[in-house]
């Protein structure tokens, strides 16, 4: 029996023994997600136990080096994922620490930050948020206004960040600041880390057109940031930011993929509009539903192909821009279609049999897909320049 098979057998047994039954049921909504952090209230004992047990083995970040996380190899990590999928185990932890700032610190250092920050991330003790966008800057990160003034052993940071997800629930922020006001745009930017409890940090949630949201504005008013909390080198934050943005784009690119078990648009159409002689009762909508479903199928296959090509080492590298662009536009079309299919039911906001306007709110929220994480226009620019050689 190969080492990998041994690992699989042991992992399977460990998961069977340690993953609580309630953590093997499908998550029914945002409430079931575990984000951890100092302010976290576990939704159940099982949720706490499951995190603690996985964190103890470092399996919340299984492919990180052993000194900070799980220390599993690429194949072992895959096996762990497969075994977790087999029993439909929930992810023990959702974390911008694991997805974003952790990999960046791992890659860009310095070492003392790895030792300080990675273990608490793995244990789910510290929850992170990101401070990138600023009001007035939009997609233009190079226009960054937040300034960090050099005061010898520390910086004093002043400015305002926007679109900070869960800033009001996070413990630490990774934040882009301008450390050199004289350097030209992209240069002179640094990525710094600070505790959200630092005096001068305040947050305000943003109400979206769809209602309340996880996004906040974050105000930085003479915030003291130690100099040893710079990721990579001072003035080299731009490179790290680009690295992180690509990560983010890949996460968002999943839009338009049908969640397993979710009802298809076709099924929803049949339910909303009904069949007559075996065909959708509204013939113009029928054509639109078919065209959307065909596009969505081709998109799913393309995301699958991109993954297969990446495995085969043929990835075009820039396919993430295309997937981000197409997936988000497709998702917006899907919601327009659902609104049309549901007619006046889609317009409900409050009232009538406890209907909470979920359809309309999701439709409105989808409009942001093609703005956040780099607008569709930015993705098209990237495709034209980097792939098609126009410009």
């Amino acid at each position: 029996m190969s080492d990998l098979e041994t690992f699989r057998r042991e992992t399977r047994a460990w998961l069977e023994a340690n993953c609580p039954a309630s953590m093997r049921t499908p998550m029914t909504g945002d409430d079931d997600v575990c984000w951890g952090g100092r302010k976290w209230t576990f939704k159940s004992t099982d949720q706490r136990l499951w995190l603690e047990r996985m964190a103890e083995r470092g399996w919340t970040a299984p492919d990180w080096p052993a000194e900070y996380g799980g220390g599993l190899g690429k194949d072992e990590t895959r096996v762990l994922r497969e075994e977790m999928d087999r029993i439909r185990a929930r992810p023990p932890l959702h974390s911008f620490g694991i997805w974003m700032i952790g990999p960046a610190i791992l890659r860009f250092g310095p070492e003392h930050l790895r030792r300080q920050h990675l273990p608490p991330i793995v244990r789910g003790e510290i929850r992170w948020c990101q401070g990138y966008s600023e009001p007035g800057a939009g997609s233009d990160l190079a226009g960054l206004q937040t300034r960090a003034e050099d005061r010898g052993d520390h910086f004093i940071v002043n400015g305002q960040k926007i679109w900070t997800s869960h800033a009001d629930r996070a413990d630490w922020m990774f934040c882009l600041v301008r450390t050199n006001p004289d350097a030209k745009k992209q240069a002179g930017i640094s990525l710094v880390l600070f505790d959200m409890n630092t005096p001068g940090v305040s947050t305000r949630p943003i109400t979206l057109i769809s209602g309340s949201s996880p996004f906040c504005e974050t105000f930085l008013d003479n915030v003291r940031v130690e100099k040893d909390q710079v990721v990579g080198e001072v003035d080299q934050g731009w490179t790290i930011a680009k690295y992180l943005l690509t990560h983010e784009r890949e996460m968002i690119g999943g839009f338009g993929r049908t969640a397993a078990g979710a009802r298809t648009v076709g099924e929803q159409a049949v339910e909303a509009v009904g069949l007559e002689d075996g065909r959708l009762a509204d013939e113009l909508l029928r054509g639109e539903v078919a065209r959307w479903e065909m596009d969505a199928r081709a998109f799913e296959l393309t995301a699958e192909r991109a993954r297969a090509e990446a495995r085969a080492g043929q990835g075009v590298g820039n396919s993430s821009a295309m997937l981000k662009y197409y997936g988000t536009e497709l998702n917006k079309r899907r919601h327009e279609l659902l609104m049309a299919l549901n007619g006046s039911d889609g317009l409900l906001w409050q009232g009538k049999d406890g209907h909470d306007g979920a359809l309309a709110r999701q439709w409105l929220r989808s409009k942001g897909n093609s703005i956040e994480g780099g607008t569709s226009e930015i993705q098209l620019n990237i495709i034209a320049r980097n792939i098609l050689g126009l410009g």
Binding site: I209, A272, D282, E336, N342, G343, S344, G346, G351, L380
Partner: protein, 380 residues
């Protein structure tokens, strides 16, 4: 020949409606109603002022206290109300209700109702839809002759102004198949009658609609509006009128969304230049501009065809509404996208246009419904 350029009189009405609405019912007023959770969803005071301006009587004959100013005139008010997102009983009472009564009401019904409608004192609501997607000839609600009058049973959804109406105009089936044109009869029903149940709800545009249920509701024979079993023709006319005016409102929404977006593109700077200097955005706005120009022509043609009782009127109303739906959808989607993250916040107004646009689109049939209807009218 359609009136494609406003007469001086019509232009004056438009300008004065614009001035009045921008002053008395700007977007901020709509926002306030929403935030205060106003149970009517519109301001009674603003409505009184609109009545003062004569808006309520625009389609009502002078003999009944109105101004008989015609559909082109009313359409200008609607377009301006689209720009300011003004909620009011204009559509349900002054357009739909007035048209139904003028077109199909008996002398007695007109005498009783039109004058108070023109005075803004009596509100009406059309109870037509039974399914989420508009399909006016699908009528399960039954009215059965009971010897003296009729007994109505059934349920209507998305009744605009159903929560405030003094008189419901209800489509029922008095005979025939539930999908057929024949056998549809319209009734005027007082909402206070025993067995009428009204459940209000808030819609995405912060307005109100109601579900109205009829449980053995007894109405006298004189409550029939038009002729028994022949309500479909009246309905065609009333819905054509409603859709032409919804198209006018959507034209206003599209124009306002475009104007605000253009303003933003001209001012907002990114990468050291204004957003408006990016050619890809220029072309999209130029395309949107062209679509709106075509919409304006279609709306004017539909309204003036109604005034002139042109044989093509119903087809033109469907052209106008179908185009209004696709163009307003484009204009508001482009508006939010090009405002970027700011467009996603409740703080900016652009999202309010998005919300109202979809509600107006779905009201009495969206572009698919009207494309289908147009094709049927054209014989294919």
């Amino acid at each position: 020949m359609a009136t494609l350029v406003l007469t001086e009189e019509q232009q004056m009405l438009k300008d004065s409606a614009r001035g009045f609405l921008q002053e008395n019912a700007p977007v901020s007023a709509m926002r306030r109603l929403r935030d205060e959770g106003d149970p009517d969803g519109f301001s009674r005071a603003t409505w009184a002022a609109m009545v003062e301006q004569g808006f309520a009587g625009t389609l009502i004959p002078e003999a009944h206290g109105g101004f008989d100013f015609g559909h082109v005139g009313m359409g200008q008010i609607q377009e301006e109300a689209g720009r300011t997102l003004t909620a009011s009983p204009l559509l349900a009472t002054a357009i739909v209700g007035a048209c139904a009564l003028v077109h199909a009401g008996t002398e007695a019904q007109q005498q009783e109702l039109l004058a108070p409608m023109a005075a803004g004192e009596l509100l009406t609501a059309l109870a037509v839809d039974e399914r989420p997607r508009h399909r006016p000839e699908l009528v399960h609600t039954r009215a059965e002759y009971n010897g003296a009058g009729y007994t109505i049973n059934g349920c209507k959804s998305f009744v605009i102004d159903g929560h405030v109406a003094d008189r419901l105009i209800v489509t029922t089936r008095t005979s025939g198949e539930c999908r057929g044109r024949d056998g549809i009869t319209l009734f005027l029903v007082e909402p206070g009658l025993p067995g009428v149940e009204i459940v209000p709800m808030v819609t995405v545009d912060s307005r109100r609609a109601a579900e109205v249920r009829f449980n053995d509701v007894e109405v006298p024979a004189g409550a029939v509006l038009g002729h028994v079993d022949e309500g479909a023709d009246v309905l065609d006319r009333v819905l054509a009128v409603a859709n032409a005016h919804l198209a006018a409102e959507l034209l206003g929404i599209a124009r306002e969304a475009m104007d605000r977006t253009l303003q933003y593109l001209r001012e907002r700077r990114q990468f050291g230049v204004t957003l408006g200097s990016f050619q890809a955005l220029q072309h999209r706005m130029a395309q949107l501009f062209s679509e709106i120009e075509l919409l304006q022509s279609a709306v004017l043609a539909a309204l003036s065809a109604l005034d002139e009782d042109d044989a093509e009127a119903e087809a033109l109303c469907s052209v106008a509404k179908a185009r209004a739906c696709t163009v307003a959808e484009l204009a508001t989607n482009e508006g939010v996208q090009l405002h970027g993250g700011m467009g996603m916040t409740d703080e900016f107004d652009i999202g309010l246009f998005l919300k109202r646009a979809r509600a107006a689109q779905q009201t009495y049939g969206d572009d698919r419904h009207h494309a289908d209807r147009f094709a049927r009218l054209r014989g294919y």
